[in-house]
Amino acid sequence: MAPKKDAKAPAKKAEPAPAPAPAPAPEPAPAPAAPAVDLSAIKAFGLFDRVGDNKVAYNQIADIMRALGQNPTNKEVTKLLGNPSADDMASKRVEFEGFLPMLQAIINSPNKAGFEDYVEGLRVFDKEGNGTVMGAELRIVLSTLGEKMTEAEIDALMTGQEDENGCVNYEAFVKHIMSV
């Protein structure tokens, strides 16, 4: 941003009044009094800004939060955004100051799932109670229940997770999931 020129006072013999320089403030100030998450949040946010307007699209918000270690459901994010239409999700953009409170809400969310929650969730499909679920069945669950995943997503997720019988040891699976 080009700094405004100082309006020069007409030539007078009076003492040179110190012209109040307008504060340049070129860089966006990070949110004040916020925890250490801010620095990585700012970095992640910038990484996702493909337009260069210091904003990100609504439909990128969930992924930025994931990049920052959170696991929001799409529903949680949509709700935080005020339940926008699909059109808005694709076209509307938000600046960092708008994003940060949403991130905080997710971070402070009371019902966050941990290792046990995932294991128990998968145990429901452990028909033989032997610590494994059928990969094929898990794929169907992931694509038909909850927030359905696409085949591509499921493939990416399940690569290398099924044993020679097509079964998944879900405790090991969850450990693997939580390691990144």
């Binding site: 994931r66 696991n71 459901t73 995932y118 028909k127 038909t144 229940l145 909850g146 995943m149």
Partner: protein
């Protein structure tokens, strides 16, 4: 009919779909949580190698644009 203790490679889609509680809110809620965890993991995994290569096209954001999050 328990066909699960032998090969796990048969699709059996119809039978499995009948077993799956499509309308059960609890099951759907549990599934959504699991899926959220999976999506978080996959996003972070995708971003990891990108971190090292500065100046390259960050394909993860390309993916995000293409995928409609509804």
């Amino acid at each position: 009919m328990d066909c699960h203790n032998e090969e796990c490679s048969r699709p059996q889609e119809e039978e499995d779909i009948m077993d799956i509680p499509l309308d059960d809110p609890e099951a759907n809620r549990a599934a959504a949580k699991i899926q959220a965890g999976f999506r978080g993991h996959m996003t972070r995994k995708k971003l990891k190698p990108e971190d090292k290569t500065e100046g390259e096209e960050v394909s993860i954001t390309g993916d995000v644009f293409n995928r409609s999050v509804v």
